[in-house]
Point group: C2
Chain length 259, copies 2
DNA sequence: TCGTCCTACTTGTTATAACGTGTCGAGTGT
DNA sequence: ACACTCGACACGTTATAACAAGTAGGACGA
């Protein structure tokens, strides 16, 4: 392979394939040439073509499957977790629920609830003291039979203990806001802190995505006035989800000094 | 190296080093043993130790520097891009300036504005026709002198052409909301669609992060009623930023039926 | 003293080779 | 017709080898 500008061969090959993906020569789901083909096409060793494809894989443009080949990855995420004026905590509940249930035995979500005590991190987020009793609930949400979202929520038992809504699931009402309404606590706002990072091994396994794929991690906390009521760690594959936040912009009332 | 469970050696070594990072044996900024050291320590070939370190690099736990070594990467993001309160408290200030001030940073940015025509993607987002004239502005935001955020915004010239606020920057007022207020268009809400993915080469270079590090990509669109007024593509390193969304939860009577 | 050069050490790139493991279809036997 | 086997082919893992390129510190000369 001509050593153009001294730029490493594997990067040039990656550039070449990438441009083919962008200009549509290679389309979503298409199989890339095999490693042997690429070796012949570019006249390089296998390690070079593997490095090239690895670059594209780390960019999320390509997925590899042992025994089958490397494939151009579908680009746009398909599902949207909408958060905003019409706040919904169960994105699967509406459009996807039917198909998920119809197509298999897998329920839309499964959960596990247990009493435990607050770690320091959770205590800070809930405004309580480390070691205070909390109700911890872990969820796995499914869409089309595939794991799509993980969530672990924490509620101070000081708030719910002994009430009809002590159990987050299986009671007369579900969802944090209605449950808290039922015991006279009215949620006023929710804060979501969003970060992106690579999937940890446990998350990759549970969400059935390749290790290292970027995921979105959300720290969500519900408040009644300034009092934290519930907090949760939510993990979604950024392949499959867009987070859509719709925020009101109130009309201008005053005119503070500009920047 | 003992071939435990048939799990590949490089993954076992990655596990080993990862646990040392998590339990603090290796702390932030510490140098990992060199490849030669790891080869000797684990009794494997260089390709195995390189694969192992590559796993950690793709997880964002480690950065490599040619000629120096591999280093444990500082973990937690330090800055927060707050969205929510800002729109109600200080509608005049641009979100970035307000966020930077909130974290005690001096905001700096550079920009480039030019007239162009809308691509199909942008036209769809702005509710106009592909080829319609738009004003395109690319920003690079800095914090502490380091590039921190990239943004490319588009405004239909049908809205601003010939007005005092045709230029997004350099005019009497800045920020989308106040500028549009000045010409009688009142922004009612903003939608931010958040996705996570790996940094593309251009983004990695411009943001000065390693290639493949996860970034957060935001599609932001301002609306006046249901009419799109401005849309922007924003990219931030997920290492350095948390997106914090504060959303009101309307009182019970206004709320849609719970799940 | 100070700057330059050299060298040792580090990761980066590439080649060759071999075997392991997963996939899939063609061929075979019932 | 159908199930099973097997082999071709794909990517996965690992070894050995060599040279390139970036870094840092010590040796050396001005």
């Amino acid at each position: 392979m001509a050593d153009f500008r001294g730029r490493p061969a594997y990067l040039q090959i990656a550039d070449d394939i990438r441009s083919q993906i962008i200009d549509g020569t290679l389309q979503a789901e298409d199989r890339l040439p095999s490693e042997a083909d690429l070796m012949a096409d570019y006249g390089v060793s296998r390690i070079v073509v593997r490095n090239a494809v690895e670059v594209l894989r780390s960019e999320g443009l390509v997925v590899k499957q042992q025994g089958r080949g490397s494939f151009v990855r579908a680009q746009r995420p398909q599902r949207t977790r909408v958060v905003g004026d019409l706040y919904s905590e169960r994105p699967e509940a509406s459009p996807f629920a039917a198909s998920a249930r119809a197509s298999g035995q897998v329920p839309e979500w499964e959960y596990q609830t247990r009493r435990t005590t607050a770690s320091k991190t959770i205590a800070d987020r809930l405004g309580i003291t480390a070691g205070d009793p909390v109700m911890r609930t872990s969820y796995r949400f499914f869409a089309d039979g595939e794991p799509a979202m993980l969530s672990t929520s924490f509620e101070p038992l000081a708030i719910t203990e002994g009430t009809p809504v002590e159990q987050p699931e299986g009671g007369p009402v579900t969802g944090v806001v209605p449950r808290m309404d039922a015991i006279g606590i009215h949620i006023t706002h929710v804060v979501e802190d969003v970060t992106g990072r690579s999937a940890r091994p446990y998350e990759a396994e549970t969400l059935k995505v390749p290790v290292g794929v970027p995921i979105l991690a959300i720290e969500r906390t519900y408040y009644a006035k300034s009092r934290p009521i519930e907090t949760a760690d939510i993990v979604v594959s950024s392949d499959r989800y867009v987070l859509s936040y719709r925020l009101p912009v109130p009309p201008r009332t005053d005119r503070p000094t500009p920047i």
